[in-house]
Symmetry: C2
């Protein structure tokens, strides 16, 4: 095979044959263009990048770190230790610490146990709710609160095209059109206490992130539990089948997501939680309800 | 297998095992509910049903004919002879004539050759445009003009859930959000010369239509060309794969289509074609451009 850009021989194929050098260039240029097109980051801003140790979030942190001088922003990382042994453990933390040390990036660590007072596994059993759903609530809460309290302008996550397509189908079938309206590269703040979220890898696929990590020799700490749940997910299987038939489906799908505008019902004005003061659509926020 | 409704033994399975009697009842009740929910047809209206001789349009005509007394409307059929031998021929016409005679329905026939002055095959070669695209333009033009000039209140077509899902994906990837906004059970007229279109089979799948036709012993005239193109269509293959994994996908997908509201750009006000007076967004309508 020969690289479709420079014609050099290559073993790598991502939709089309491409050599490692050209892949890295194109990947980084794609992220840079997205950042500029949707004004994800402005000059002088402080960005908090949420890292879990997986391929997507470390790709996000790595590419932003490479673009920060060019685009004139500063960044720090946030690692949330959710305290589920099968998800985050000492190995995860070592991987992330090494990643940040190598790049001289400040790493902030928040431990769920300290905040919640108990382990997520215990909560999950008590509430009879799947642990992944509790983990989601807790992570979103902590990311936003930490970013705001520490004066960051934006919160960046490693959500990629595959995530967006999966979220689209689940929310479409669940008629959650308000959530679909938020499947965008940037979700502007709708409340003074909410930090604007950005998704620099909106147009990158999981396959590209994995290649980016591999070519850059970045060590990752795969979260066995999330991967396990993802593998069992039917939408993941369906997306693989679509990929076989239409390899550019996901990319084209998210490019349409960028442009579509959904009419959403008048949103229930966000209030502040009576217990913790964080923004919520109800009297007590989802996080404090968990703590009760 | 036993029917999930009445528990009688059955060989039929459409997602779930169901006997023929219960299937017919549920199918007709589903169409009736859709008509009422979205006010597709009001009492006293005159409905023109477009029939091609295929399973979908004949299902549509058959079920509407069964519901017309209950819902208090009258109906006639329209058959457009597109003059493509592999699509419509004497056999197609015989099948449709027999269908209408058996039900004492008035059948209107419009021949494209008489209107266009030449055969679609010839036009397709001259314009280097696929014949299916020309056929679509011509049929939409004739259906609307005929319905309006003959005083019908609504134009009914046999478009079903499978069509809606396929159209959705094609238009989504093509960023034709204005077209997606029209993937609804009813498309109200936006111009005095446009007749409101209705899709009574919006929530029915092709599989259900085929079962409905088969159980009712209705003779159909399969259009070999359309079937051929449909089989080659990748979206058709993909939908079959999704069906295997999530048998209720199409139904749930169109139920969301019914509810979603897309913001569409200010539509270019419809004008009247300078040649024929039919509504168009340009100076000369697509039909008259074909004739040039």
């Amino acid at each position: 095979m020969r690289c479709f850009v420079c014609k050099k021989p290559t073993d790598l194929k991502i939709i089309r044959p491409i050599c490692k050098d050209c892949f890295i260039k194109l990947y980084e240029r794609k992220v840079e263009r997205l950042i500029k097109k949707f004004e994800l980051i402005k000059k002088g801003e402080r960005i908090l990048v949420a890292v879990s140790g997986g391929k997507d979030s470390l790709s996000c942190a790595h590419v932003l770190n490479k673009l920060k001088h060019l685009l004139g922003f500063t960044m720090e990382c946030l690692y949330i230790d959710v305290g589920i042994l099968t998800c985050t453990n000492e190995r995860t933390e070592r991987v992330i610490k090494k990643f940040c040390e190598d790049r001289k990036l400040k790493l902030n660590v928040v431990r769920v146990k300290d905040l919640l007072g108990k382990k997520l596994e215990k909560l999950s059993k008590e509430r009879r709710r799947p642990i992944c759903s509790i983990c989601g609530v807790v992570k979103r809460y902590i990311m936003n609160k930490f970013a705001r309290e520490n004066g960051f302008d934006k919160l960046a996550t490693g959500h990629c095209a595959d995530d967006m397509v999966r979220f689209f189908f689940k929310n479409w079938l669940g008629k959650k059109f308000d959530w679909i309206a938020k499947l965008k590269p940037i979700i502007p703040s709708e409340h003074p206490k909410i930090v604007t979220r950005i998704r620099p890898l909106f147009e990158c696929t999981e396959e590209e992130n994995l290649a980016y990590i591999t070519i850059n020799n970045i060590m990752i700490a795969p979260c066995s539990r999330c991967s396990y749940f993802l593998r069992r997910d039917k939408w993941n299987e369906i997306l693989k089948l679509i990929d076989d038939k239409k390899p550019d489906f996901k990319i084209n799908f998210v490019k349409s997501l960028e442009e579509v505008e959904l009419k959403i019902k008048e949103e229930s004005k966000l209030k502040e939680c009576k217990k913790c003061g964080e923004p919520t659509s109800e009297e007590i926020c989802a996080f404090c309800k968990l703590k009760k």
